[in-house]
Symmetry: C2
Subunit: 516 residues, 2 copies
C-alpha cells in the first residue's frame, strides 16, 4: 500500500528471461481492498441460497470455462513460471478435476454432518428437546495463492474450490510470480459465476504484500487459506491470531518430507530407489511442498550403491529455471548455508556450473544428533536439493527422525517381504505417522492425488491446523456448526428437514442413515 | 509457581461461609508440572493400543467408579460451590451419562472418518495409489476446569471424556473454586484407569494460575480445552498461538445469549415468558455460560406486561451464594458499571439488600445504538442479571442484534402461528444463526442436552474455535488425520483394514457404507 506511484505496478515477468512482459495491474490500496472484501461479502447470502446444487453447478461451469481458455492460460503460466507446458497442462487438468470433484463433494452432503435428535421427554439423564445440527459457511475467505502451482493452488485452485463449495465468497491474494495467469483465471471464474446466475464478486482478488496482511486483518474476513513459506505463513498466522476476533488460519508452510530406506530395501533396490529419488526431488525444479528433502539410508555397501545411483541420475540434470528470482536467491543461499556446515559434503550436482544446479548433499546421522547447527538440514530448502543422511542402526535413524519438524509426508522404502508389526519398516512407519500427515510406502511423496481419502497437511510447521488442503475433507475448513432447537419445519435448512429433500447422509437419533 | 511457602497451599473453601475447610495440596511447581505432563504423555501409546473398545471400557468404568462415590462427591461439591445438592446430583448424573455417551461415540467410530480409495491406474486426472485415511489422537491435552460445573465441565467432565475417548492423555488444570471435589474425581478416574488395565497417569492434575500458563506452553501438550472467562481464556489462547509450534485452543469464553421476543409472542405469552426468563437467568445463581443476559422485547403494552411479569417473578428471589468470592466481586462490579450507564435503570431486584441480589435492568434499543458506552450491556456479566432492551420496530431490533458479540446461543420467542420464511420470527432466527451456535425456539438456552446433534460453541468470543465442547462431535477436537499410501495390510490401523474388523462406517471409493 505504497503511496509511491513508481512502486505500485504489478508486472508479469518472464521467468526465463527475467524481463517484464506486461503490466497486469497495480498494488491494491487499503481503500480498494475494503471495497473488494465488501463486494465479496455481499455475495454470501446468494451463495448460501444457491444451495448445494447451485454451487455445484457454478463449480462445474468454472471448470468448463477454464477449459475454454486452457491453452492460453497454460502458455501464460509457462511464461510466468517456466514450469513447462506439459506439466502445466497436467496441472490444468488437475485444477478442472478439482473443481468438479468439489462439486461432487458438495452435493454428496456428508460434510454437512447433518444430525437430528428428536425430542424425547423420557431421555436420560434429562428430557431433551428436538435438536438438529449441520454446517454453515464461515463467511468471506482469504486465499493466498502459491508460487509453485499457478493453477491448482492459486486463483481457481483447491482452496477457492472448497471455500466456494462450502458457500464462502473468496478473496484471493494473487502470487506476484504469476499475476497475468491469476488475472486470467479470475476472469474465467467470474464469467462462470455470472453464467451460473451468481454475482461476479463471489471471487475477488488483491495484489501486494501489505494488502495480504490487511486482508487477514479485515473484520469481514472469516478464515484464511495459505500455501507458502514458513516465514511468510507464520507472520500471517500471527496476524490472524492477534485479531480482536481471531480467525482460523489454514496454512501450509514448509516441509522436509523425510524418506527412509531400510537396509533390506537398500539391499534389494538401491539402484531403483536412487533413480526414483532423483526424479522426485528435482520434479518441477524441486519446487514441490512434498519434495523429499531428507533421505535416510543405511551405512554400508547397499547405502553406498543407492547414493551412487542417485548421483548418477542427478549428474546429467541441468539447473532448472526457477519460479522467480527471489525463490532462486533463497534456494542458492540455502545451499550455501548447508554446504558450510561441518561434516556436510556435496556428493553430486547436476550438469553445468549454475548456482541453482540440482544438488545431493551428504552427512552422517551421528553428526546431526551431536551438532546442533546441523538442525538446518532438517528444514526445507525450496528447490532441487536432497540431504542424504547415513544411519548406522535403527537407534540412530529414530534419533534423527525425532528431530525432524512436522512434515506433510513421511516415506518408507521397505524390503519385499518386510512387513508386519515386527518389521523395521513398520516401526519406521509408526514414527513417521507421529510426525507427518501422510505415510507413503515404497513410493515418492511428490504427487498428491485429489481423492476422498487424501490428506495434505501435517504437524507444525507443515500445517498451522489439523485440516487438509487437498481432497474431499478440505471443504470442512470453511464451515462452522449451527444447531437448531425446537425450530419449526419451515425454518430448518433443507438438510435437516424431516423428509431429507437433499438426500444427504444423516444421523437420526444416533443411527447413521445413508439414504432415507 | 511461587517460591513463598506461605502462598503455595491449595485450600478447599466453604462457599457459604468463606472459611477454609481443608488443605488439598499445593500449587504445582514448574518441576512438578513437567513430571505430571511427562507421565501423562508416556501413557499415549497404551491409550492408543487400547483401541476403541478398550477406551470405551475405561470410560464406562470411570462412570461406575464415580457413582460409587457419588453422594460424597456431591456433598463436597456443594460445600465448595453452594450450588445445592439436587442440582449437583443432576450434574453427577449428567457427568456419568457423558462418560458413557463418549464410550458409545468412540465405539461407533464415525468420528474416525475412515476413508479408503483403492488404487486405480485408470483414474482421472492421473493414476492413483491406494490411499486410506483416519484420525489419530493429537497427544496430551490440557483441560481447564470450569468454576460453574464442578463435575460436568471439570476433572471428569466433557473435555476429559472426549479427549480420553479419542486416545489423548489429559492433564487437568483444577479450578481453585473446588479443589477437594477435583481431587476426589481425579482419584476416581485414576482408579478406573487401573481397573481397566491402564496407567493411572492417563489423567494428571495441576494447581495454580502459573502452572496453567506453563501447561499451555509445555512442548508435550498438543491441544487445550478451556471453559472460563473471556479475559483468562484470551490470555491462554494467545499463549497457545505464540508457541514455537502453535497448538489448537478450544476455548469457551463469555457469551451474552440474546433472547428475542416478537410482538406476537409478547401479545400471546407475556406472563409465561416473563416467568420463564426469571427462572432461566437466575438458574444456578445466574452462573451459566448459556444464561440469557440480553432480552429484546417490543415497546408497548405487551412488552410492559412481560417486564412486569419478569419483575414479579424476580422480586421474591434471594441473592444466591455465588461460586467464589472473586466471582461475586466481579459480578457486583459488573452490576455497578452497568447501573452507572446513561439511560439504564433497574426495574426489579430480588428480595433483601444483598449486593448480589438478582437484578433486571432496562434500556431502549435506540440508546444502545446511539451510545457507544452502552456496548457494555452486550457483554456477559456472570451472575443473576438480565438486561431488558425495548425495541420500537424490527429495524431497531436487527440493529441491536448486529452489535451483539458472538454467542453460544440465540433464542427467539414467536407467536403460535408465526413461522415460515416470511415471518419476523424466521428473520430473527436467521440473524441469530449468523451470530451464535445454537438457535432456540420458544425455550430458554440454559440446559444443554448431551446428544449426537448438540452444538455448544459459537463465534468469538463465545468460542475460540469452530468446535463444540458438548455432544458427540466434541471428540473430533482431539484428533488429526493421517493417511496411508500403499501401506501393507498389517501396518494399517484396524479401521482401515479391508475387512473392517471394527465395523465402523467408512467411505470406500467415494461411497459411504454404514455396515460392511
Amino acid at each position: 500500500m505504497s503511496s509511491d506511484p513508481e512502486n505500485t505496478d504489478i508486472w508479469s515477468v518472464d521467468a526465463r528471461t527475467g524481463g517484464r512482459v506486461e503490466r497486469v495491474g497495480s498494488v491494491t490500496t487499503a481503500q480498494e481492498l475494503r471495497a473488494v472484501v465488501r463486494a465479496a461479502a455481499s455475495t454470501g447470502p446468494q451463495l448460501q441460497a444457491a444451495g448445494l446444487a447451485g454451487r455445484a453447478r457454478f463449480l462445474r461451469t468454472a471448470a468448463d470455462r477454464l477449459e475454454e481458455d486452457a491453452e492460453e492460460i497454460v502458455a501464460l503460466a509457462d511464461r510466468e513460471t517456466a514450469l513447462g507446458e506439459s506439466r502445466l497442462r497436467a496441472e490444468m487438468a488437475r485444477t478442472t478435476f478439482q473443481l468438479r470433484f468439489m462439486a461432487e463433494v458438495a452435493e454428496d452432503g456428508a460434510w454437512l454432518d447433518a444430525t437430528i435428535d428428536h425430542a424425547d421427554p423420557a431421555a436420560a439423564p434429562a428430557p431433551r428437546p428436538d435438536v438438529r445440527r449441520s454446517q454453515v459457511p464461515l463467511g468471506p475467505v482469504a486465499v493466498f495463492a502459491a508460487s509453485n502451482f499457478p493453477l491448482a493452488f492459486s486463483v481457481a485452485g483447491g482452496d477457492t474450490a472448497s471455500a466456494l463449495a462450502a458457500g464462502c465468497p473468496v478473496i484471493v491474494k494473487a502470487h506476484p510470480g504469476h499475476p497475468a495467469t491469476s488475472q486470467r483465471c479470475l476472469v474465467a471464474l467470474r464469467e462462470a459465476a455470472t453464467r451460473s446466475g451468481l454475482s461476479a464478486h463471489v471471487v475477488g482478488m488483491v495484489h501486494g504484500l501489505a494488502a495480504g496482511l490487511e486482508l487477514v486483518r479485515d473484520p469481514l474476513v472469516r478464515a484464511v487459506g495459505f500455501t507458502g513459506s514458513t516465514v511468510g505463513g507464520r507472520a500471517l498466522f500471527d496476524a490472524a491470531a492477534a485479531r480482536a476476533d481471531p480467525i482460523p488460519f489454514f496454512g501450509e508452510l514448509g516441509s522436509v518430507n523425510p524418506l527412509v530406506v531400510t537396509p533390506i530395501a537398500a539391499l534389494e533396490r538401491a539402484g531403483a530407489i536412487g533413480a526414483g529419488l532423483a526424479a522426485s526431488f528435482t520434479l518441477g525444479g524441486g519446487q514441490f511442498c512434498t519434495k523429499p528433502g531428507l533421505v535416510l539410508v543405511p551405512a554400508g555397501a547397499d547405502g553406498d550403491r543407492l547414493r551412487a545411483a542417485l548421483a548418477a541420475s542427478v549428474a546429467p540434470l541441468p539447473a532448472p529455471v526457477m519460479l522467480t528470482s527471489g525463490i532462486r536467491q533463497a534456494f542458492v543461499a540455502g545451499l550455501e548455508a548447508r554446504m558450510a556446515l561441518p561434516g556436510v559434503s556435496v556428493v553430486a550436482r547436476g550438469v553445468g556450473d549454475d548456482a541453482a544446479s540440482p544438488r545431493v548433499m551428504f552427512t552422517k546421522a551421528m553428526d546431526i544428533i551431536d551438532e546442533e547447527r546441523l538442525a538446518l538440514l532438517l528444514e526445507e530448502d525450496f528447490g532441487p536439493v536432497v540431504i542424504v543422511v547415513e544411519y548406522a542402526d535403527e537407534a540412530e535413524l529414530t534419533a534423527v527422525l525425532s528431530l525432524v519438524p512436522g512434515s506433510l509426508t513421511g516415506t518408507v522404502h521397505s524390503g519385499s517381504n518386510e512387513h508386519g508389526p515386527d518389521s523395521m519398516a513398520h516401526r519406521v512407519a509408526v514414527v513417521l505417522a507421529a510426525r507427518s500427515g501422510r505415510v507413503v510406502w515404497n513410493g515418492y511423496p511428490t504427487g498428491v492425488a485429489v481423492t476422498w481419502a487424501m490428506h495434505h497437511g501435517g504437524p507444525y510447521p507443515s500445517s498451522t491446523s489439523t485440516a487438509t488442503s487437498v481432497g474431499a475433507a478440505a471443504i470442512r475448513r470453511w464451515t462452522r456448526t449451527v444447531c437448531w432447537q425446537d425450530a419449526p419445519a419451515a425454518s430448518l435448512p433443507a438438510e435437516l428437514q424431516e423428509d431429507n429433500p437433499l438426500g444427504v447422509p444423516r444421523r437420526i437419533n444416533g443411527k447413521l442413515v445413508v439414504s432415507d
